[in-house]
């Protein structure tokens, strides 16, 4: 016994209606005989049977519209038709992958969408503190809003914060952003802290002599020496310079030192000076001064705001002796320098006083450990003992 089904007569034929049966139960049929008249969208088509046999029963009454493949009649025959049921499915067409993009190598340029930049400016978010959720760490608007402590607005959200407008508003927005960033840093980054005291006598002596030879406008501050020393020390312990992204350490493309700068109206930014390790001290000093000025007048370049690979904070002028700071994510280290203090110092079996700075390291324990951190601080110390080589 076999089934005679509504045939598919075209790729776009989905259904048909038996308008008239041309055979009755008991009729003998042979291959090629017309058995029914079927109505389709295109018109009436006679359908044939492809086997010899006898009509057992007409399952489908005239006048009913049925889908292609529906059983219309039962045939008892000598030859069973070829197995029609099993239609081997064609392999599923896998979604075609988009063509491999011609991504240029990382130029060190931050991947921030235009909308994200706009939001960052509106919210006063430092893009350096934002971790991007997009491909290759790309920062989208939602990332900026998250960093600012605000959920992406789903409804008109009064809690979004004061609209960017007056300076006070912007300042409030910035504080909020900083607060969110710092809270996140403490939440997510396993900090460890190391401190050391650096004998700055050689450095200060060299600095004094050096500055005597220079016009006032070109005089160096010891903070330049410190920052340069940090940049060079990075080469010995590279896992202090870079980012923790997607569960792995990404070394920075260069040594771009973020310099924490306090703003007069309150708040803190830490814009980067690029490639400090290769910079002569003169250039570094000039960059630092320019940076402070630009930061304080609010005209930092986007690359400065987002490119820092390690940050240095110097609260020395505030009179604080030691500072253990909070790392700016996604960076993995923060170096702090305290006030320059004359302190008793034991050396060569004698006691004297030396100008001393407390240098500290806040490290991300995922990227480095105390052992490596100690080496880093020791390197800074050592470099500051040879200030002429900085």
């Amino acid at each position: 016994m076999s089934e005679f089904r509504m045939p598919s007569l075209g790729a776009d034929m989905e259904a048909g209606t038996v308008v008239e049966w041309r055979v009755h139960p008991g009729d003998r049929v042979k291959r090629g005989d017309i058995v029914a008249l079927v109505e389709t969208e295109k018109g009436l088509i006679e359908i044939e049977i492809f086997q010899d046999g006898e009509i057992e029963s007409l399952v489908m009454p005239e006048g009913e519209k049925v889908a292609v493949g529906t059983v219309l009649a039962m045939i008892s025959g000598e030859a069973a038709p070829p197995p029609a049921a099993k239609v081997e499915p064609a392999p599923k067409v896998a979604p075609k992958a988009p063509p491999v993009p011609h991504r240029t190598e990382s130029t060190g340029r931050a991947r921030v969408s235009p909308l994200a930049r706009k939001r960052a400016q509106e919210l006063g978010v430092d893009l350096a503190r934002v971790v991007g959720s997009g491909e290759g760490g790309a920062i989208a608007a939602a990332d900026v809003e998250r960093a600012a402590g605000q959920a992406p607005p789903t409804a008109p959200a009064p809690a979004v914060g004061p609209p960017p407008g007056t300076a006070t508003d912007r300042q409030a927005a910035m504080r909020k952003a900083i607060a969110a960033a710092m809270a996140r840093s403490k939440r997510e980054i396993p900090h460890y802290y190391l401190g050391t005291h650096v004998d700055m006598s050689k450095a200060m002596a060299w600095l004094t002599a050096e500055n005597l030879r220079r016009p006032v406008t070109e005089r160096l501050l010891y903070s330049a020496l410190a920052i340069k020393a940090v940049a060079l020390a990075v080469h010995e312990v590279p896992e202090t310079n870079g980012f923790w992204v997607d569960g792995a350490f990404q070394p920075g493309a260069g040594v771009h030192v973020g310099v924490a700068i306090s703003l007069r109206q309150g708040g803190l930014v830490a814009p980067a000076i690029h490639d400090v390790d290769e910079m002569p001290l003169n250039d570094l000093m000039r960059s630092m001064l320019a940076l402070v000025q630009r930061a304080r007048s609010g005209v930092l370049r986007s690359s400065e705001v987002s490119d820092a690979t390690i940050t240095v904070t110097n609260l020395g002028e505030r009179g604080v002796e030691t500072v253990f700071g909070i790392i700016y994510p996604p960076q993995v280290a923060l170096v702090g320098f305290g006030t320059l203090v004359e302190q008793p110092w034991a050396a060569d079996g004698m006691i004297g006083t030396r100008p001393v700075i407390a240098a500290s390291l806040s490290g991300d324990h995922r990227a480095s450990d105390g052992h490596r951190g100690a080496r880093f601080l020791a390197a800074i110390d050592r470099l500051l003992q040879e200030p002429e080589k900085l």
Binding site: P7, S8, D12, G32, E48, F50, A84, V87, A90, A94
Partner: protein, 333 residues
């Protein structure tokens, strides 16, 4: 230049068996394709050659292996007689990679380099310029071979027909234009689309030798094509042969044939080329009853095997989708 009354060339028993076998092969292959299409195994469009077998079976006898063949979307019969295996064709209809076109073409685009079978063209009239070009290459390079171009009478309405006929005649290219006039271009009767329905007259207006042939008589088809081919080969320039024939099935599978009378179809069925030839050959003492039966059995096996081959075939890996958009090696010298 009509040659309808020319005496057919005397044939022997072997040749009679060959002609009968080829026509039966085509007939049963097409019937099986119709069945498989209804079952959903073959998709897209399917254009059956049932009724026109005498043309392909007869005309192909005049061609040599080194000649080229260009055909239309109703080309299963031409491909079979030309020498493309039933398995390769069936697998192509199934869309399997073992098909003659790797499953890339389907019913309308059968291609086979080994037999110089250049499609399988789905644009009516679109193959004629190709045939002209193939013949042009032969003439330029001094290859003594011809290009047979099969097309339906519907192509006569297309500009490409006139351009191609003109160019072939102007440059005296070795093209054999084989027009299969089955009276309907899809659903449009010839008389409703052509102001002048005498196709040979149209052809001869290009200064091209042209004559009509009874397309239901396989011997007449072979004789006429041999004559024309001989003339083309010996520097006679392009020739045009009009095969007057009829398709018993609809234009394609999904066609309710609203445009023609059942009575007309029945009339033409009485001139079915296969029983007509079998009867005549028997009358002439060339064939016995058992011969047809034996051929049917053998053809049945061949067709069944081709279906098995297609069923067992494989799908081209999707990863290879973009292969052959461009050549993978420099074109041969």
């Amino acid at each position: 230049m009509s040659d309808e009354g020319a005496a057919p060339r005397a044939i022997d028993r072997d040749h009679a068996l060959l002609l009968l076998r080829q026509m039966i092969r085509i007939r049963r292959f097409e019937e099986k394709s119709a069945e498989l299409y209804s079952d959903g195994k073959i998709r897209g469009f399917l254009h059956l050659y049932i009724g026109q077998e005498a043309v392909a079976a007869g005309a192909m006898q005049a061609l040599r292996p080194e000649d080229a063949v260009v055909a239309t979307y109703r080309e299963h019969g031409h491909a079979l007689v030309r020498g493309v295996s039933a398995g390769a064709i069936m697998a192509e209809l199934y869309g399997k990679v073992e098909g003659c076109s790797r499953g890339r073409g389907g019913s309308m685009h059968l291609f086979d380099a080994a037999t110089r079978f250049y499609g399988g063209n789905a644009i009516v009239g679109g193959g004629l310029p190709l045939a002209v070009g193939l013949a042009l290459a032969d003439k330029i390079q001094g290859h003594p071979r011809l290009t047979a171009c099969f097309f339906g009478e519907g192509a006569v309405a297309e500009g490409e027909f006139h351009e191609s006929m003109n160019l072939a005649a102007l440059w005296q290219l070795p093209v054999l234009f084989c027009c299969e006039n089955n009276l309907y271009a899809m659903g449009t009767a010839l008389a409703r689309s052509e102001s002048e329905t005498d196709l040979c007259l149209k052809a001869s207006s290009f200064e091209m030798p042209a004559w009509p042939v009874d397309g239901m008589d396989v011997i007449a088809c072979e004789t006429a094509t041999r004559r024309a081919a001989e003339s083309v080969r010996t520097g006679g320039g392009p020739h045009f042969v009009e095969f007057r024939t009829y398709r018993y099935r609809a234009h394609s599978m999904f066609d309710p044939e609203l445009y023609r009378d059942k009575a007309e179809v029945e009339e033409w069925k009485e001139r079915d080329p296969i029983p007509a030839f079998a009867a005549r050959a028997k009358q002439d003492g060339l064939l016995q009853d058992e011969d047809a039966a034996a051929i049917e059995d053998e053809v049945g096996v061949e067709i069944a095997k081709s279906v098995e081959f297609a069923e067992a075939g494989t799908w081209e890996p999707v990863e290879d989708l973009t292969r052959f958009a461009y050549s993978e090696r420099p074109a041969g010298r």
